[in-house]
Amino acid sequence: MRRQVPLVITFVAGMLMIISYFIPRQPFGGLQNLFNQWFIVIVAFALILGALNLIKVNAEKIRRKRPGWGYSAVLLITFTVTVISGLFWGMEQETVFGFIFRNMFVPLGATMFSLLAFFIASASYRAFRARTIEAALLLIAAILVMLGRVPLGSYIWRQFPMLANWIMAFPNMAGQRAIMIGIALGTVSISLRIILGIERSYLGGGE
């Protein structure tokens, strides 16, 4: 029973979604929006579970003085301050919550994002070592595209931007489209397996 009920729900919901894609008439046409609204409600409840888990895991870490427990303390303090300020004084620009969001959350996120520039450099260094024919081809294509994308490239040779555009528009686009067709077929295949109950491992366990 514990396994059958989710399978029935999955089958019914999956079939309704497929039908609603082809039938615009109500109630079918509006099912996707309705299901999305239900999903948002479920997310809201799941978020409470997530927050409770976050508190539990970090409180346990502090209690047992596990390595890195100081980070957990910082997390719980900032979590409490942010939640209380948002609940009691609102979340507008001029509130404490707004201040925390603008001056701490956004800059910290931007800092993490900016690290990407350095990681791209280190990853490119490894990827562009021409040890094999494939890596050599990658290196050549990358250099041509880079030269086509920077002003220096067109100073060296006027055709570099055109060459870069050609690489992006044809070989690169062909590869991307091949991957995307594969993804679309894979999506249909796994959806069918799930809707028909052939693939059950996402419910926990295998067969």
């Binding site: 999305n36 799941a46 799930i194």
Partner: protein, 387 residues
């Protein structure tokens, strides 16, 4: 003197005449829109009527003074018209979204200039109605039915015990090897199920793989860490891992603290996972699911600690990052095939065979389309791209 006066009067008359005639020309009402038609908007849920017309002769030509169009609607012929909307200069259609199903409407379109407007002829009556089938998606329906038939046919063949050859996927064969290596080193396995929630098929596929991985890890008796970014994915991951540990006969080894919820913030999550990598030093890291800009931040950190890294995603923009930073990468469809491949179950493997055949059919269509387009025949492309 009289002659001079007569000439002056004649001059004044000519100026007055031209002035009046020019003024009369400037104030001429715009030419009306022509061929106005109203019809039920096809392939929709009802409640809409499309009105089309040919531009006024003074829109972009003639006096060129039309400012726009006003759409008027009535429920009776030749009377009771009221405005329902406007369309900009040069427009030739308008969709009335305020129509009620099964009510008869008449429409007129007025061309407006600065001073006046001219009404078009009345349309024939139009009635909005919902449709039972979106005909523009016929091609999609045929494709889905054909593809589903192929998959189900191969599943049936597999169920009958027929041996089906499935091409080996190096990335998936490396998963067990990676878990084995982490066991030898006494280090945990870190599994990252992407950053989207359960409404994304990649996360669902990832949960199916997580189940297989959790079973292997439970048998090897090493910790499995699954930090989650999305709340439903988090509860799902806990359930999936718990059930896998029970099925592996190791319920005692399950620790819910190893499957924590982190945060819904993208880079906050990336920072937390990087912290887990640097503090707990996992022997194997699996990135399977949907990823965005954090993909390389995570994979490069994982690479810096010397972990075996296996990634899989259906996000084409992130694939190059994973290819560069990871030991193995499952590209697009391979992510969706992973769970079936790892299970080794004939029915699931049969679906993979069907998927490959579907790909072959699509390849044939692409080749045929390329030939037909080269020959100047566009019907196949036209049929396939209709949306």
């Amino acid at each position: 003197m009289n002659q001079r006066r007569a000439v002056f009067l004649l001059f004044l008359s000519i100026v007055f005449f031209f002035g009046v005639s020019t003024a009369a020309q400037q104030n001429a009402p715009p030419a009306p829109p022509t061929e106005v038609k109203a019809f039920d908007n096809p392939n929709d849920a009802g409640g809409t009527i499309t009105i089309t017309w040919k531009k006024s002769a003074d829109d972009g030509a003639g006096e060129n003074d039309v400012l726009g169009y006003e759409i008027l609607r009535s429920m009776a012929q030749e009377t009771g018209y009221g405005p329902i909307g406007t369309a900009s200069l040069g427009a030739t259609n308008y969709v009335d979204t305020s129509a009620v199903d099964r009510v008869t409407y008449y429409y007129r379109v007025a061309a407006r200039d600065r001073e006046s407007s001219t009404l078009s002829e009345e349309t024939i009556p139009a009635v909005a109605s919902p449709q039972w089938f979106n005909r523009r998606r016929t091609n999609m329906l045929i494709s889905v039915v054909l593809f589903s038939f192929l998959i189900l046919w191969f599943i049936e063949r597999a169920k009958r015990g027929e041996k089906l050859f499935i091409r080996p996927l190096a990335g998936l064969e490396a998963i067990e090897e990676g878990i084995g290596r982490a066991t030898e080193m006494g280090k945990p396995v870190l599994y990252i199920p992407g950053i989207l929630d359960m409404d994304d098929i990649q996360t669902i596929a990832s949960m199916a793989i997580l189940s297989r991985v959790a079973k292997m890890v439970a048998q090897y008796d090493i910790p499995l860490l699954v930090p989650s970014k999305m709340p439903i994915a988090f509860t799902m991951a806990q359930e999936v891992v718990k059930q896998a540990y029970i099925e592996a006969g190791r319920p005692d080894a399950y620790n819910s603290d190893n499957i924590p919820f982190i945060t819904m913030a993208q880079f906050g999550y990336a920072a937390a996972v990087n912290g887990i990598m640097l503090r707990q030093r996992p022997g194997t890291i699996l990135y399977l699911g949907a990823f965005y800009a954090e993909s390389l931040i995570l994979a490069e950190t994982g690479s810096s600690i010397g972990a075996i890294q296996i990634a899989g995603t259906a996000m084409p923009a992130q694939l190059p990052f994973f290819v560069v930073a990871c030991d193995y990468t499952l590209i697009g469809e391979e992510l969706f095939a992973a769970s079936a491949y790892l299970s080794g179950e004939p029915r699931l493997l049969g679906s993979l065979k069907g998927q490959d055949w579907g790909k072959a059919v699509f390849m044939a269509f692409i080749a045929l389309g390329a030939i037909l387009e080269t020959l100047g025949l566009h019907f196949l492309t036209g049929w396939l791209v209709t949306w």
